[in-house]
Subunit: 395 residues, 2 copies
């Protein structure tokens, strides 16, 4: 049989990251292309203990159907935590548990966008979210990301030029892929622009707690007196990505429609996973836990940057992130970036070509993404050496 597919899916390519992740199943390849938390960041003993107790005390609840909105105890904890810790979430907001923040992106798109509606995002931006937007046939407009966040002039131009802008997608903290952080001034200005032009902001904050340098900057959601911000949080980077638990805090009517859409999508997020997250928040000293994670990533990032400072010979630009898991390297103008990445993987170092993070195939870039959380320290040193040698040969 000759199979035909829906227009929205037919043109969607498999995520380059996922494809490269498969490639990195080869243990010989140094995984600078991934985005996995460091193995030593997982509180395995605590989670093991929690899980044993769940099965000793509440096994039926852990295996039975649950409600679409999410495990009630976890929802309450997260609402409280958002308020007390991040000053985010008003009385008019609600919270739904989702199967990773990725599902929050998909549900926001499905609930808000007709085919052809516009979504504005940073350029570059997270490939998983770009694919969600594309998978609903939205019109994607990428706005240049500057060192302190999105280009506000270009953002306002885009808001003027496009009629049905349903939301602006932003990753303000240690952005994936660039590692850049949006300044407080720009967060406020972007919020004011969204309000003025009657659109919403989809604020994706998976890395916010992983700041290993500088001072925390308030989330855009914390300014949201007008009910225009959909905030996405996640357990993937602070506890475990494999459990697939994230959450959306958004105005009540938005969350209610997300519940309807999620019923038709996966009914509810795995309840054992949700119970593990709730118990984790109850038992852990959260400040001490994230201080431990920050220490791991501060060290790994410094190790990678140190090697690059010494070996890249000033021929490649790169960001110096204050947190998160990624940094963004830019080869000299006019370079063959794809050729560089291909040669790197032949030499057993995988990085992600920057083109994966562009909004359109026509966008040219000489950048690529590096990740410092997945590789071991030895792999960081060895991988940076291999890349340094390749740079010296080519530039």
């Amino acid at each position: 049989m000759q199979y035909t597919f829906s227009d929205k899916i037919a043109t969607l390519q498999p995520s380059a990251i996922r494809e490269i992740l498969k490639f990195t199943a080869d243990p010989q390849v140094i995984p600078f292309a991934a985005g996995n938390p460091a193995p030593e960041a997982f509180p395995t003993a605590l989670v093991g203990e929690i899980t044993s107790e769940i099965f000793a005390e509440r096994p039926i609840a852990a295996l039975q159907y649950s409600i679409t909105e999410g495990y009630p105890q976890l929802r309450t904890m997260l609402k409280d935590m958002l308020k007390s810790r991040y000053h985010a979430g008003r009385d008019s907001d609600e919270l739904i548990i989702v199967s990773g923040a990725q599902q929050g992106v998909e549900l926001a798109t499905k609930v808000l966008c007709n085919e052809g509606d516009t979504v504005i995002c940073e350029k570059p931006s997270f490939i998983g979210s770009l694919n969600s937007f594309k998978s609903y046939n939205t019109h994607l407009v990428g706005i240049e990301l500057q060192d302190d966040g999105i280009d506000l002039t270009a953002l306002e131009d885009a808001l003027k030029a496009n009629k049905n802008v349903r939301f602006i997608y932003l990753i303000p903290n240690f952005q994936n892929p660039s590692g850049k952080t949006m300044s407080l001034e720009k967060r406020k200005a972007a919020y004011a622009l969204a309000k003025r032009y009657g659109t919403m902001i989809l604020e994706d904050n998976p890395y916010g707690d992983l700041r290993f340098e500088g001072e925390d900057i308030p989330s855009i959601k914390s300014f949201d007196e007008d009910g225009i911000v959909i905030y996405l949080g996640s357990f993937s980077k602070v506890l475990s990505p494999g459990l697939r638990v994230g959450y959306v805090c958004a105005p009540g009517p938005i969350v209610q429609k997300m519940v309807v859409a999620k019923q038709a999508s996966d009914v509810h997020t795995g309840i054992l996973s949700q119970m593990i997250c709730a118990e984790f928040l109850t038992r852990v000293d959260y400040n001490a836990h994230i201080a431990h994670l920050q220490q791991i990533y501060r060290k790994k990032c410094a190790l990678m940057l140190g090697g690059m400072d010494a070996g890249f010979g000033g021929k490649v630009d790169y960001t110096r992130p204050q947190g998160g898991l990624f940094l963004w390297c830019t080869l000299p103008k006019g370079s063959d970036m794809m050729g560089f990445c291909t040669e790197a993987v032949h030499r057993k170092v995988a990085v992600v070509p920057g083109s994966a993070f562009m909004t359109s195939d026509k966008d040219e870039t000489t950048s690529f993404r590096m990740n410092f959380s997945t590789p071991t320290d030895e792999q960081i040193e060895k991988g940076v050496d291999i890349l340094s040698k390749l740079i010296r040969e080519r530039f």
Copy 2:
């Protein structure tokens, strides 16, 4: 702010079942409206033991990111099991793990259907799937379900009358909500019709192993020499619905597009849940396990039917299912079914109005769905007594 939603979601109502499930949080209400496995059907001790060992031996694997296709060991086991046990799955088929069979329904719709394309289904059919189809703005055509399966004449008429029929959605075993089973002849005939008219079949089989009477009938997928059947299986009814693990066995190109769509949806299904399912299949005596489940549901179904036979006074028609979790009652023609269901819930017995399972709001029905797996034996007896009294009063 005045929120507006996408056309596809704006008109979608919250699932009546889910809404009633919330209502049944009241422990005073007898839950004939739910669809939960019986608590005694969960192998809690085994799952607890498996989970402890996973955290003792492979904690990082259980918490880290995994691949979209699913846990490789589980995929291999399921492919083998489908072949050896159900004679389903050819070399040209692939298998993807999904977050419950509900996600399989959603992915099939997203991957295959443009807005306005036609999906044909049984009438009545499973509300969660109907909502998935509607959430992509498909054109839904419901075909009368007879005692031995879909009306073939009406099916062929619909295949002739509608141009872009992307698939026929069927639940051949102990259908939800009707409890009816499709005969072998009709399975073969429906397959032949799909082949003749160049469309696919989406075969949903969550209850197949729960046959407590009569002989197994081969799945439609087992005839699939032409690569036109997408088969959905699930751990929800044989192990645990809370883990959210199902699977899709379908021709390679279909599964490949589902992988792309799933990447943009929830990245992958919770890996701890998948590891639990794989270990469960490895360790359990599967035949003994499902014999145990069959025994539980055979007894519960007989208890409910016995009470109905004695108390309903021949005034209400109902199915006598050979397996699964549901039976379908039909009040006399012209009855006020909604009024009946409302009065029942006032008297603390929740059933699901049949209108929830229709393809269109305009379809009239005097039927409602009853579930015998969720209530205790005492609740079955008491609830059927309450309904019997109500029937005697009204008819």
